[in-house]
Structures are given as C-alpha cells and as structure tokens.
Symmetry: C2
Subunit: 299 residues, 2 copies
DNA sequence: CCCGATCCATGAGCCGTACTCATACCCCGA
DNA sequence: TCGGGGTATGAGTACGGCTCATGGATCGGG
C-alpha cells in the first residue's frame, strides 16, 4: 500500500521556494521563473502541506520566509545543487572512469580586491588546466554576512572571504589561504601624511584595524568615507587623504601614492575561502581550491 | 521561454533508480516499489535521456548499473536522504526557533566490535538527550569498502570505521575519535601462550598487525581462521589458541582469557567516523557526533 | 529444435497534477 | 471610498506518468 500523502518535494517545487525567498514575494518569484503567480501560490501551498509547516508569512507587500521556511529554502538550494552535481558527474563519468575532467559552472563570490587582484591569476591557471570549468565571479561586499553568506544561502559555490572570527558560518567549510598586512598609503612625496584626513570605506570598518588604532598615540583629524577600496586609492592618489589598506587593495597601486610599512605590530587580516561541505568534495571546487592554494602560496 | 528539455530528476525517478540497482532488475525493482515493470522501464529511459548517459546495462537476467549508473545511484540515495532531512528539519523548526530538537531516523553503519562495545553507551546518551532521534545500527564487516562504503553509497548516514589509509573515501567527511592498542590474548593461566596457534578473523587482516608481526622474532606455529572477533575470543577462552586483538574487541572479555600488553611498540589502529558532507551539518548527525566524541574521550 | 520462462521495450488509453486565465479577496494609503 | 499593491481560488487545458496488453530478445531444457 502506497503512502497516502506524497511527502517529497519535486525539484521544481524547491526552485519555486528558492525563487520566492529570493524575490521576496509570490508574484515577483513567479516572474523570475517565468510562471504565473497562481502557479507559485499553489506550489508553495503544496510544499507547505507536504512539509507540514507554514514556510512563508504572506504580507501586504510580498512574502517572507518563516523560521521553517528559512531552513527549507537553505536546504532546497543544497538539494538542487546536489542534483546538478549528480547529473554533471554521471554525465562526465560516461567518458572515462578514472581521469575525468571537471566541468560545468562554478559560482564564486569574492570581495572586491580579491576579485581584482587575486582571482585573475587563479582563474587563468584554472582555465589552462581545466578548460571545461566555467567560473562565474560575483563581487559581493564584505558587509553583513559577507561573501560567506552567499555560500551559506546557496547562491555561490565558493567564497573568497576575510576570516575574522565575528562572522560564524556554522556548518561551512573554511580554510585560510594567506595573511596580509595593512600598510599606510599617502600621496607620494607628502611631507606630513598623518596630518591628512583618513580615507576609509564601509567594508574596512572591521575588527582588524580597530585594535591597532587603539594602540596608536595619534588619531586622524578627519575621516572621509569612500565607496570602496578603489575609490580610496584614487582619493589618496589625488592628495585628498591617507589610508590604512590591506595588501590586496594595493596591488598595482599608481605611482601617485606612497606605501609604507606599519612596522611589526601592524594590523593584518586573514584571507581564505569558504564553501559548503557537500561541494568541498566536488571536482570543480577541488580544482579551484588547488589553484587558489598554489597562487596564494606564491604571494 | 522555458528550457526545452527538463533536466532535473524528480524524487520518484531517483527512487526508481535506487530500487532498480538494489533489486538488480527493472521487473524486480518495480515490485519493490509497487509499480509496473512498464513504468520503471519508461522512467529509467527518461532519466537516462535527461542525464545523457546509459545508466543500466540491460542483460539477460536483470539490469546492472554502468559506471555512470553507479555514480547516479549513489548520488540519488544521498539526494533522497537530504530531502528527508529537509522535511524533517523544517518540520522540527516549526515549534521553536532556537532550541529545536533533532528528530527522525539516523542510519549508522558500524563494524562489529564498535557496535557491541562503543555504540551502546553512545546511543544511550543520545536517547537521553534527543529522544526524537531514531538510530538504526547496521553491522557491516570492515572488508572491501567497509562501513565507509555504506556512507559513500548512501545506504548509511554515518559510519564507525577503522581509519587505515588504504580505504580512501574521496569526498566524504572523516574524523578520528581515538586510537586503540592491540593486546595479546590467551587462555588464562596458560604457561606458554606463544606456542598456541594464532586465532585470527577476516577483518583483522588489515595493515595494522602486519608491520608488527614483521618486527617480531617469533611467528605462530599454526593459524586458525574464525568468523569474527567474538568467535576468536570464545576460541581463545576455550584454550584453543591465542590472538592479537584491539581493545574494543576485548571489552568485557571473560575471565577465562588473560590479556597482556604488547609493550611500547604494540600495533594500534585509529577508529573514527565517516559521514557525507551534506549530512555533516544536519542536526541528527551533529547530535550523534557530539555524543561519539564525548564517549570516546572518556575511553 | 522448438517451447516456455524471464527478462526489457513499446503502443494505447486513463488520470492526476501542474500550468494558465480570470476573478475574488485582503489590506493599506491617498 | 476607491485604487493598487499583494495572495487565494475556480475553471479549463495539456502533459507526464501510470496501467494493461503486447511484442521482441535471449537463454535453458525436454
């Protein structure tokens, strides 16, 4: 005798859950999937009945996941990804059992400076060795849950992240790659850089420089807030201030800025990668990690 | 415009793949699912078309998975399990946001001595703390791919395994729990135990004792092959031989045997657990691992 | 050698379900 | 009170998956 209620969620139902969560509403989710709002509404109700819990709180403007909904959506992303891997690997294993080339899309979330100054070399090596892999880099600001959050939510397969203890990506795989130092940057030839206003940007307000500043006997007179590290560098180059910036942001800095070491007690930050446990073993992620490590150890 | 070919496998299709692989044929798989052979045939063809690879070799009596089929079936089991976990955890998170009780089945593959002498204490603690979890222990001989193979193939959620480097469970999560020593066991009061025949059992032919034997200046005169470590202990207790056995197999050994340490260069083996990346983060597996570690560190 | 047994494949038809369209509902702000 | 975001729901349609029945291959035994 078959179970009276079919309890498992079909892939398209999972996709709908994810789309609704991402889009923030049934109607919006419907358009991203090319479906009708009606279909989405029915599907979500069906999923909720199967699970036995309300997954979305319907409100005036859109729908927001409940606690159970958050759970379900996060899991749904993983199931969908695992299904992709299933198909890709089974498809791949048709050619040769042992030495099979990793191939397929690889979604990378990276913070700005890593995407500009670390990833290009990595991806070039990756492309040379595994032309079948199609990396997709998305620049994500290292704010809030940061790049690791993209992985946690299933929107990326691997994140290049700064590893401060604050962000705790429970249940994710985290590995350090290298530690980089912060340096003082100021307009080339400026006689008294410390008198200049400090140029900072949102992502840099982390725990790294706080402690260092606390130990200094001088504080900057004024502070300028810039959009990102690139803008900071431009401002400093234009003579509008000085900044404390990590090495990655200073790769390829123009001649108009001068960089000086901050001495043995300078602030540092660790850069590493974050991925999900189930992807850590997949061929594509393994290939990328190998190149990441190789490139990073050369830095 | 929708994708012209629907590429994802529905749960029932995955279940059919698993059933066919388990039953060894389309017809046999059909009866285990309560379906028609016709339905199974169509479904498998559909899955093969979606994946783009032949998954089963149809033969005279039954069907056997191809290389791609093995891959697909192992993945299918894992996807199905992950779907179960999705539903269970989302259902569980309906009661309270923070303190949510893990619940649901938890399939454990363990080798004999660990199931007899390690797991009972672990499962008792687990039951006390998480009464909603339903552990199912299956004893698997540590031969071939061993208990870890059960996890790799999706037939168990967690394996208690001996961690010799030989078995390489690529893509799985492996953690050590403790290291245990081998001891010499012989009939109590026997004057010359080394003159007795060596009693051994199939699973013990691992790499652990090999090296040690090579360094010894004596070799046993005869060897008796027993079914498992329990039988070995009985034979030794009956005065029919002596044996080299790991500590777990010697828990609760009868008074009729005497155990002596083999000195500082005695052989040892590592015992640990193996699980899949996607389950490593699930509440049920996490709960079990916690008790495993707690119990093991007390050993 | 043919016969039956035992597999899988395939054609025809039924039925559930997942979609669309259209409409109803609900709540808020102007 | 009405309009404009949202979601829910009724009616009708299309497709996919199921069963039944049959066909085709392959082997072992009288």
């Amino acid at each position: 005798m078959a179970r009276t209620t079919d309890t498992d969620l079909a892939p398209h139902e999972l996709r709908i859950l994810v789309a609704v969560a991402d889009a923030g509403g049934f109607s919006a989710g419907a358009v991203t999937l090319g479906l009708t709002q009606s279909a989405v509404s029915r599907s979500v109700r069906g999923s909720e009945r199967k699970i036995g819990a309300v997954l979305f709180e319907r409100g005036r403007n859109g729908a927001r996941p409940t606690a159970a909904g958050e759970q379900a959506v996060a899991h749904a992303r993983r199931v969908l990804r695992l299904l992709d891997v299933l198909v890709a690997e089974a498809r791949g294993s048709v050619r040769s059992d042992a030495a099979r080339e990793p191939e397929g899309p690889l979604r990378i979330a990276a913070f700005r400076s890593s995407a500009l100054h670390l990833l290009p070399a990595v991806l070039q090596r990756l492309r040379e060795r595994h032309p079948g892999i199609e990396p997709q880099v998305r620049i994500v600001r290292e704010l809030g849950r940061g790049t690791a959050g993209e992985v946690a939510d299933g929107r990326a397969d691997l994140a290049i992240a700064t590893l401060d203890g604050a962000r705790l990506p429970a249940g994710l795989v985290v590995h350090g790659l290298f530690e980089e130092s912060y340096s003082l940057v100021y307009p080339a030839g400026h006689p008294a850089p410390r008198a200049l206003p400090l140029v900072d940007w949102a992502e840099n307000c982390g725990s790294y420089t706080r402690a260092w500043w606390g130990a200094q006997d001088w504080i900057p007179g004024a502070t300028i807030e810039a959009e990102d590290d690139g803008a900071v560098l431009t401002l400093v180059g234009g003579g509008h201030g000085m900044a404390i910036m990590p090495a990655l942001s200073l790769v390829g800095a123009p001649d108009s800025v001068e960089i000086t070491d901050l001495g043995p007690k300078r602030p540092t930050r660790r850069v590493g990668y974050v991925t999900t446990p189930e992807l850590a073993g997949s061929a594509v992620v393994r290939a990328l990690v190998r190149e990441l490590r190789a490139t990073s150890s050369a830095v």
